[in-house]
Structure formats: C-alpha cells, structure tokens
Amino acid sequence: MLEVRDDSAAAFEELVLRYQGRLVGVLAHLIGSRDQAEDLAQEVFMRVYRARKAYVPGAKFSTWLFTIANNVASNALRTLARRHEVRPQTRSSGPMGAHPMDYLAEASSSQMPVRRLAKAEAREMVRLAIESLGERQRMAVLLSRFEGMCYADIAEVMGLSPQAIKSLLARARGNLRDALAPYVERGEQPGMRKNENGE
C-alpha cells in the first residue's frame, strides 16, 4: 500500500488482484447481487486510490479496505431501501444461477441428480439465512467467517466497540442457528442428505 501511496501503478494492480475476490464476495453476500457487488467493489477500489495519500503506514490494509467497503455498502443499501429495492428480484448469480425458476423447473422434471438438487437447496437455504440477518449482523458475520477478523478489527471496520461486536455476533449466530435449524439439529452437512433410496 505504501507503494500505491507513492503512485505505483503496478502496486495498485497487485492490490486489486489480491483483494478483489474477497471484496466482491463479502459485498455480494451483503448486498445480495453479484453484479452490484462488482460495481461497489470498483467504487471501493476507486476510493482507495483517491485516499491513497491519507494511508497511514502501519495501519492494517484489510481493515482500512473493509472500512471503506462497509461505508460504500451501507450507502448502497440505504439507496436501495429508498427505492424499495432491498431485495433484488433477479439474481445474476447464486446457487440457482441467473434464472432460478428455470433451475427449479429442471429440478422438478427429475432431469437433475438428487444430490445436486439437495446441495443447491442447501446453498439457497444458507444464503437466505444470511440474507435474513440485519445489515450489521450480516457484515459482522461475513468479516468474522470469511475474513477471519478478530472482534477488535471488526469493531474498527464497523465503528463499534469490541463488546458491541461480541453481542452482535452472538445474536447473529443465534439467528443463523435458528434459520438453519433443520441442518443444525440433524448435524448433517447440506447437500449430503440421502435420497429415498439411501443413495
């Protein structure tokens, strides 16, 4: 990041390559739309570039990056809420692809292997469980689960205290446990359910 601050184009490219997947992943789960997540990720990288001179050596870059991402995502969610488009009706990606109805039609016509269907259903269930969380709980879960951030770093990204993050994550994980109760209670992995023939 120090090289980026000193206007190195190669360093910035490396930064984009290193973080783009993680950033788009978190934003996609946060916003619920892969296309929009990519747009927002580009906005985040633009802001990183614009603010490069303000970067303080020693600050953890990922914390800085996700702080910007959190702000960008919050603004986007507010805009979406104003437009009453909080939940996009069409998804360009996800377990059921860009056309979930076609996917389900194929699944019901028995042309799809049972295991594949079960796994897709499970993914959809997990996705819905994540989407059922509030914005802040979702962000805290994503940063903890996929970025492996400690409570202190999550607190810095979200502008909250570590104690608030502790409570937030406890409630979020309680909600996830309830939403995924069928899998949680059986203790089985989604997609690994046996079909009627025991296959």
Binding site: G21, V24, A41, Y49, S93, V126, S144, G174, R177, V184
Partner: protein, 188 residues
C-alpha cells in the same frame, strides 16, 4: 450450582451465556472463562449441545459460494483508476498557472508589506531636519530685538553681558526655555 463455592460461575442470563459461548468458539474469551466453559461443557450435556449447534451453524456457511471475479473486472477497475489518475493529473496541470499566479501575488504582497514596514521604520529612525529650528524658535522669534540691543551697545562684551542678564531675567523666555540647556549655550 457449582460444587465448589470458590469456583467462578457462568452467567445464568441466556443472552450473555450465548455471547460467552460464541466468543469461546471464536477464540475471543480470556483463558479463565474459556477453561470454565470447557469444564462446564464436560458435565453439562445441554451446554455441550448448545456449543455444537453454534459450531455447526457456523460450519454451514461454507456452503456459500466464494466469489470469483472475472479478468474483465480487474481490467475494468484498473482502467477506471487510470482514467481517474489522468483526470487528476490534468486537474493538477490546469491548476498550476493559477497556483503560480497565486504564489506570485503572495510574493508581491509580501514584498510590498516589507517595503511599507521598512519605510515606516526608516522614517522613525531618521532625524527630523526641522527639530533644531523648532528648538531654537524662541531665539529666532526674538532675533530682531537681540540685534537692536547689540546695535545700541557697541562693546561686544557689554552686549553679551546685557544679553545674559536679559536671559536670566527671562523677559523673552517661553515656559520651557528655562530647561533648555542648548539655548543657554547659544546665548553664551
């Protein structure tokens, strides 16, 4: 209840207990509380089950798709940044003459200010040419009378003596003349 009265207890508040269990799973608990949870979980099947439920729900998140960005994303992002960098450079270039003008104006204003301060300081230090005339004004005002007296008394010594007497009599003196030693010397 704990069998040992000195043994610290886990909270009975379900919400706080969940916080502690989740923090334990995340490795965010202090060593003492973590050990307490482990000890309790060994003898409390309900607590053990609760921990497992939290853990299993967390593991299920692995089912979420990991984002894989296409190469076009990287290209598009870098292109956007390159355009931004170019615009930034153009803006800097466009601002350069304005900045130069502003710098020149500031230098000019600084020089002007320095000149004014210098002129004021010089005026303060330079001696006033009118000052000796002002100081000798009483003598100048009465010079005709002095000349007349000198004409009437032909002897220079007598005249000077007469003038000294006049001066001592302060017939022509102004209020502050008595303090002016220079005038006295002049008369002598």
């Amino acid at each position: 209840m704990s069998s040992d009265a000195n043994q610290p207890e886990l909270t009975h508040d379900p919400a706080l207990l969940d916080e502690q269990l989740v923090a334990y799973l995340d490795g965010e608990l202090d060593e003492e509380t973590a050990r307490l949870i482990e000890t309790r979980a060994e003898s409390d099947p309900k607590l053990q089950e609760r921990l497992q439920e939290f853990g299993r729900a967390w593991e299920l998140l692995n089912q979420l798709e990991q984002a894989e960005t296409a190469g076009s994303f990287t290209e598009a992002t870098l292109e956007m940044v390159a355009i931004e960098a170019e615009a930034e450079a153009q803006l800097r270039e466009a601002e350069r003459p304005r900045l130069r003008r502003r710098r020149r104006a500031m230098i000019g204003a600084g020089l002007l200010l320095a000149g004014v301060i210098g002129a004021l300081a010089g005026a303060g230090l330079r001696p006033d040419p009118n000052r000796p005339l002002l100081e000798k004004l009483p003598v100048i005002e009465n010079v005709d009378q002095y000349i007349q007296i000198l004409d009437e008394n032909e002897t220079a010594g007598q005249s000077i003596e007469f003038l000294r007497k006049l001066h001592e009599a302060k017939l022509f003196a102004t209020e502050d003349e008595g303090n002016n030693e220079e005038d006295k010397d002049e008369i002598r």
